[in-house]
Amino acid sequence: MSGSVRLEGLSVSYGGTRRRNAGASGAAPVLDAIELEFANGSFTALLGPSGCGKSTVLNTVAGFVRPTAGRVTVAGTPVDGPGPDRGMVFQHYALFPWRTARGNVEFALKRLGLSRPERRRRALAALAEVGLAEGAEKHPAQLSGGMRQRVALARALAAEPEVLLMDEPFGALDALTRTRMQELLRELWQRTGTTVLFVTHDIDEALALADRVVVLGGSPGRVLADHALPAGPPDPDLRTLIARQLGSP
C-alpha cells in the first residue's frame, strides 16, 4: 500500500503564529478533526464550496501546511514537509516561466541523477504522454492554459509520485479543454496507478472523474458525506443528493 493516505484527527488553524487570518480570538480553525483514509491507487474527489478547507487538506498532505492537531500519514509514514513522493498540480500551473516545457519537466527529473541525454529523453517522453510532444521547446507564455496544465501534469508525474494532489487544476480552463483534460487525467491515472486526491467545487467534475466523492463543508471544515461511486455513467439521483449536501450548512 505504497500510496495509501490517512488523515488522523486532522485539525488545522491559521493565525496564532501565522500572519494571516489572525482574528481577535486568535487562531481561526479551518479543519476540525478530519478522519479519512484513501486507498492506494484510488481516485477521490474532495468536493466543497470555497472556504471549506478542501485546499488546506491538500496542502497538509503535500506538507506545505502543518496540522495544529492530528497527523497525515502516507504509506504509514507521517508527513513532515513536502517531498517528491507527493506530486502537486496547482490551479495556476506554477510552471517556471524561464524554462521551456521540457525544462520544466527536467526540473523534476534532476534529483534522479540521470545523464543529460537520458533526462532529456525522459522529459520528452513525459510530454508525449500528455500529448504535448510538439510544444516541448516552447516557454509557458507561448502555451494555452490547457497546454500549460498538461506540462504541469507531465512535470508532476515525471517525479513518479505515489500520490498526486490536484488543487482545482482545471478551474481556469474553458469547458471543452476541461473535458479533454479530464479524459487525459483518467487515462493517466489508469496507466500509472497513482493515488489521486482531486479538489474541486464542481459536482459534475467530481462525478465524471472520481471513484469516490468526499463532501466537505462547514466552518471549520468537516466531512459531510462520503460516497463510493458505482462504475458506469453518473447517477442523477446521487447528483441531486450531493447537491443537497453541498447546499446544507
Binding site: P82, P84, G87, M88, F96, W98, A108, K110
Partner: protein, 262 residues
Amino acid sequence: MYATLSPPGRAGRIPGRLGPALVAAGSVLALWYVLARSGVVALGLLPTPRQTFAALADGARGGTLATDLAASLARAGQGFALGAALGGALGFATGYLPRLSAAVTPLVSFLRPIPAIALVPLATAWFGIGESAKRLLIAYAVLLAVWLYVHDGVSRVPVTHLRAARSLGAPLRRRFTEVLLPAAAPALLAALRYGASVALLALVAAELGGADSGLAYRLQVDGQFLRVDRMFAGLLVLGLLGVGVDAALAAIGRRFVHWSAS
C-alpha cells in the same frame, strides 16, 4: 500606439523609439542655439552648442576629460559594485524571510529618505576626504536603492513556485539558484539599473564634498571661474554617462531575462 502595433521583436521597436528621441534632441539643440544667440540670457552665461563642444574637445585633447572620467568611473564603479552586492544579498534575505524583513524594514524606511549629499559632512568627518569615504558614500546610497527593489521582487515570487520546487524534491540550494534567482531576475535587473543611476547621483555629491579630480570636481572648479562652456560640457558628459550605463545594463539584462514581458 507604437508599442501595441509593432511586433514584439526587438528589431522593430528600437528605431521606433529612436526616431522621436532624435527629433526631440534636435529641437532642444535648436532652441538652445537660438536662446544663446538672442541675448535673452546675460551675455557669457549661456554658451552656444558650438562653444560647448569646443570646450569638450579642448578637455579631451588636454587630457583632463580622460583623467576626470577615469577617476569618477573608478569611484562610481567600485561603490556601485560594493553597494549592489550588499544590497542584493540583503534584499534576497529580507524578501525571503518575513521575520528578518519585519526587523530590518523600519530601519531602512528611516534611512532611505536621507539624501546621500546630507551624509557627505559625516562621511568626511569619519573617513576623511580620501577615496574610501567617496566609495563608501556611493556604496551606501546604492545599497539602499538595490535593497528596496530586490526585496520587493523576491517577496513577490509566487509561493506556488517555491512550493512546486519543494514537492519536486529540490533542495535549498536548487530552490535558490533555479527558482528564486531566476524568478527575481527581472526585479534584480531593475534594481541594478536604478542603483547605477543612484551611484552617479552619489558620485556628484561625494566629489563636491572634496576631491582633486573627477567630473563633478571639474564642474566645481569651472564654476569658480565662471567657465559656463566647460560646465555645460561636463554636464553633457554626466548625462551621456548615465544614459550609456543604463543602456548597457538593459542590453545585458535582455539576454538573461528573455522570458519577461516587462
